[in-house]
Amino acid sequence: MFSLRDTLANRLANHRLPKGYRIGMGIMVLCGRRPVGITTLRNSPCPESVIVHFKSLLPIDNNINQFIKTQLIAMQRLFAEGKIAVLPGTTEDLSNNPNLQILQNLNVGQCISGTTTQDQNTLFSNRNDVGDNELVVYIVATMISNVTSAIGCAAHPAGRPGAVVVQTNRRWVVAHEVGHVLGLRVHSGKSDDLMFVNAGWTNVPPDLSDNEYSTMLKSSLTRPC
């Protein structure tokens, strides 16, 4: 979902308005390449959606806001190609919670699915009214694994789906981590792919295969719109 006001000017300037796009449609969701107004989403043929919340352990300033917006829009456009609408949930600033200060620099251990550290367990317990089938992306200052620092990590406690990321100008890191949470467990060796092991994507936006979209659509976290 994104605001027309944020994107319309660029698209008009480049004559790249998607078919069906009209001024005054308000907040939009892309279904495939087709923009759909949020109010009509429930009646649209877009079959599935996933709700993603952001919670920041860093103070939410302009930089963090811009980071969230950039990552979210990049993910929405990419997932929409597979007819998955990414619906933004809440954005919460957790930086004033003194109990969480120690988690701004997070120990993620091995960062392997199904294995979490005490730091991760504590962090992911802060869901704050997020629905059971909704994802939370936590933003921290640093993530330290057993061997080095990580940019993102999708290992999460059972029943608390989500991922952790650090602020970065690599645009598809959140999409990559959400892809893991939605069932894409295998990394790609091709730099054109979203699930490339490395954040140095080429030929952007990166690609997701039909099989990968299918896997995400089968996830219990993608729900009918």
Binding site: N105, A141, T142, I144, T148, S149, A150, I151
Partner: protein
């Protein structure tokens, strides 16, 4: 053939890295890693810290010793977490400064890096943190580490 800066930056850009990320990085990459310490992305500078800590070379150690004063906390957190890769005798002075850092994350990972082979000054600093650190989880972490090192009572 020596790596270019872009090759090295690309090699260090794994999203969820494992130890293989550092394959082939050695003393000849030290000047490039020093450049990456100035990267605009803090996580990339942090990766350079980890890479330097894995190169047993006096030049790498000298750069790391200087980084205890890096203005970016993310870089100092990486330094604290990578101290375990250094010889204990090389790490004592670095660790002592990191244990005394104003940033909570730096102290958190510096405490975790303390081993029985570090010197008495480091162990004394650990005891100070257990008693006097203003942050309860840091005091708890120091207490746990002292217990692990068998330097505290039951």
């Amino acid at each position: 053939m020596p790596k270019t800066l872009e090759e090295l930056r690309n090699q260090l850009s794994a999203i969820e890295p494992d130890i293989d990320m550092f394959d082939g990085i050695g003393p000849s990459e030290i000047p490039l890693l020093e450049q990456l310490l100035q990267d605009e992305e803090a996580w990339m500078a942090s990766r350079a810290i980890f890479a330097l800590s894995r190169i047993p070379d006096p030049k790498a150690l000298a750069i790391l010793s200087h980084e205890v004063s890096d203005p970016r906390p993310e870089v100092k957190v990486a330094l604290a977490a990578s101290v375990k890769n250094l010889k204990s005798s090389d790490a004592n002075d670095i660790l002592l400064k990191l244990l005394n850092d104003t940033n909570i994350g730096v102290r958190k990972f510096a405490i975790q890096a303390v081993s029985p082979n570090h010197n008495v000054s480091v162990r004394e600093m650990l005891k100070n943190l257990e008693m006097q650190d203003p942050i309860p989880p840091i005091r708890d972490s120091a207490k746990d580490k002292l217990r692990e090192l068998k330097l505290s009572g039951p």
